[in-house]
């Protein structure tokens, strides 16, 4: 009797759940929800059906002795499987994406952290450099010095600035600026201004000022975010000068006047 009643209960609520689920899917499709959300709405309907099946389910018979122990073990196994399975079907972040990023972010710090060695090497290099300069000076005073023109450096300046912009774009990714600022139509969730035209609105030294001291400038219309200090005041501690230079160089190239980047206002 109880079994019949349970079967009827499952059938009845199950059918209602499926019907409600289909209605939700159709409504979601009509209102342009992506497929993954349509599927999710269907699952919500089925969760509702399951809840109402349980509410009207007949009383469970008592389990005793070995049956109770086996029941418990199965229950724990089902729970564990459900939680691992549930977590595994959700989209997974690929750690490989981050590994490369972290290596790049920490490269300079890692080199510096090898205490003693790095400092010693720098000190030695400086000492050798000073000695070379002093010898060169002596040679020049004797009239035997040759003036070496660094052609390579001059000729490659265009390529070097191109590299700098590329490095700056990399810094944009590494420092995850895209989480708050929209650029090239990607990223940003209203936390920070869209930056496609920032190169026309701020000079490089002003951009540097903003990065190192976020309170120095405010974007028009972003008063609340400015007051709350949404832009982290950490880049002066986290980024090396070369990294800031590169990021500034990249931002200075952003000159798409068709995009309405909010006007920067000097605050300090």
């Amino acid at each position: 009797m109880a079994e019949q009643s349970l079967t009827r209960n499952i059938m009845k609520k199950g059918v209602i759940g499926v019907v409600v689920g289909i209605i939700l899917v159709v409504a979601a499709r009509a209102t342009h929800f992506p497929e993954v959300f349509q599927f999710m709405f269907f699952l919500y309907a089925m969760l509702g059906a399951l809840v109402f099946i349980l509410l009207d389910a007949p009383t469970m018979p008592r389990l005793e002795g070995a049956k109770a122990v086996i029941g418990l073990i199965i229950f724990y196994a089902v729970l564990s499987g459900a939680y691992i399975g549930g977590a595994s079907i959700l989209p997974q972040y690929d750690p490989e994406d981050e590994k490369g990023k972290i290596d790049k972010v920490l490269k300079m710090r890692k080199a510096m952290s090898e205490q003693g060695k790095a400092e010693e090497l720098i000190a030695r290099a400086k000492e050798l450099n000073d000695r070379a300069a002093s010898i060169e000076k002596q040679l020049q005073s004797l009239g035997g010095g040759a003036v070496v023109v660094d052609d390579a450096a001059g000729s490659s300046s265009g390529a070097a600035s191109g590299d700098l912009v590329a490095l700056g774009k990399e810094q944009w990714e590494l420092q995850e600026c895209y989480n708050c600022h929209k650029l090239f139509g990607q990223g940003g969730k209203k936390r920070g201004p869209i930056l496609d035209n920032i190169g026309n609105l701020m000079k490089p030294e002003e951009l540097r000022e903003k990065i190192l001291d976020p309170k120095s400038w405010k974007a028009e219309g972003f008063d609340k975010q400015y007051e709350k200090g949404k832009m982290p005041d950490k880049y002066k501690d986290l980024m090396f000068k070369a990294e800031v230079d590169a990021l500034v160089a990249f931002l200075a190239t952003l000159k798409d006047a068709s995009v309405n980047t909010p006007k920067p206002i000097k605050m300090k």
Partner: protein
Amino acid sequence: MKTLTRSLFIFLGLVIGGGAIAYAQVPPAPLVEFPYTGNRTAVWIVAQLHILFAAFILGAPIFAVVSEWLGYKNQDPKYDRLAKEVTKVTVILYSMTALTGGLFIFVLLAAYPDFTTWLISHFFVIFAIVYPLLFILETFILYTYFYSWDSMKGPQKARHIALGVLLNIVGTVTLFAIDGPTSFMNTPAKAVEGLSLVEYIQTAGLWDKMANFSWMPLNLHRMVGNVTFGGFIAGLIAAYMYMGAKTDEDRSYYDWMGFVGNMIGVGALLFLPFMGYLLAYELCDYDASICPYMMADQLSMFFEMQGAMVGLIFLASNYYIWLSMKRIQGVEKVRMSGMVMIAVLLIPAVMGVAWKMFPPPEWQSLLFLAALVFLPPILSRLPGLRFTVSAFTMIKVGFLMIVVADAIWMTPHGFVATQAMATEHNELPSWASELALMPAKNAAAFTLVFLTIVNYILYNRAIRQGTIIWGKIDFASQFVLIFLAFSAIWTMGLMGTVRSLTRKYFHVYNLVPDFTPEAFTPTLSYSAWWITGVTIVFFAVVSFSIMVTLRPGSGQKADAPQGIPVPAGGK
């Protein structure tokens, strides 16, 4: 004499010098690499196990002393028995806390020697003096509290309760002390103007480092979490004992114990989303980039899983109330104003819109809240609005809205593991983006809390108007109690993982980088495997402790006989 002194100095100098040279010759120990798990996961496993045991030994005494006090106040031996049984299990698990704590330090030192030394040097007073002393004091008080239970009866009972209160005070101070370094790793004290963070931390005092942004929110979150933990574990103990009970008296008692454990667990659980919100708010306030990392980027799906878990826990706790009500004789007579039902149906939409227009804590937002809570009873007195609905109808409507609230709580902005992969094919359409924002999430959380309170009000009316028969609850309720304990602990593990991961590739956020190859965000799936593994190990140990100390099914006599059936509302 002078010569002798000089000779002694020279000798000592040689010994020290020789020793130093010899030490300098010793090659540095090779770095430890834990097989299979790797170093980070090894630390993760031991730390999480330690925190679970610590949460138990901090949460269970709060539960126990409140229960003992209720027993004393109402002269009801049931409460005293409950308190003693929970304390008995706590005493056994106390050694596990110490064991896993010691293991944690060993593993941490082996896996991250430089960082561990650095952290200890910054919190030397805490690690070397305060924490050990508090732990010893707590041990002393706990054992005295447990072993003096029978000798401090009658007129001395109040003193025994005072001892329990002292145990909880020391436990809470211990928690606060160790939360200092833990929270410091997430939000190290901010540098003062003109100094870099590194320079500031070198000169900052201990208090500056302890009283960081997330310290108090973490303290509050863990304290409330521990009470929830204590309640649900008491429910677990009750479920095991009920399953093994041989007599009606025992079944009656453990049925009641399960109800009390669940009520305390759920009572504290109601505050937990708000405590968690406070902690997340402080983390985001400290550094706004943590927020997108948690909610929109690498950890977004961890929060999706958390949403699912919280939803399931609220569903299960309300299902337990439903099963509890089904065995009350006369429950069919219990009714509630239909206006409350209408308010319940309106809550998610009204509060979502209200909080969108007036974000909390603006006073207008509280006005809407007050209107929803207080208007139904007032309106229901007006002629023409005096219709009522049965308790079961009310609860069923409540369940419908719990499912709706769960759906809102779980709906993300996009089904993507990182913001960089967001496209229109996996994001909400722009017209519905409000569903993923905080006003909607707050409205969902409020709905879950409100409905749980309404269900408890109905339950109280039912036991006042009817007769509750302890020991006759649907057997499925015992699995609900176990489900609640397992799921709450699993969720604790998940959110602990999230809190740790918000440090990104730093040991101490923005201050001490983690140069090891394991400094990346693991996948949710990988995390879920380990969280489940740790939860199972914890449950195995707790289950074993319950078996050993309380011996379910052994038929041992209760401290005081319980009568069945117990009149509703009876002491």
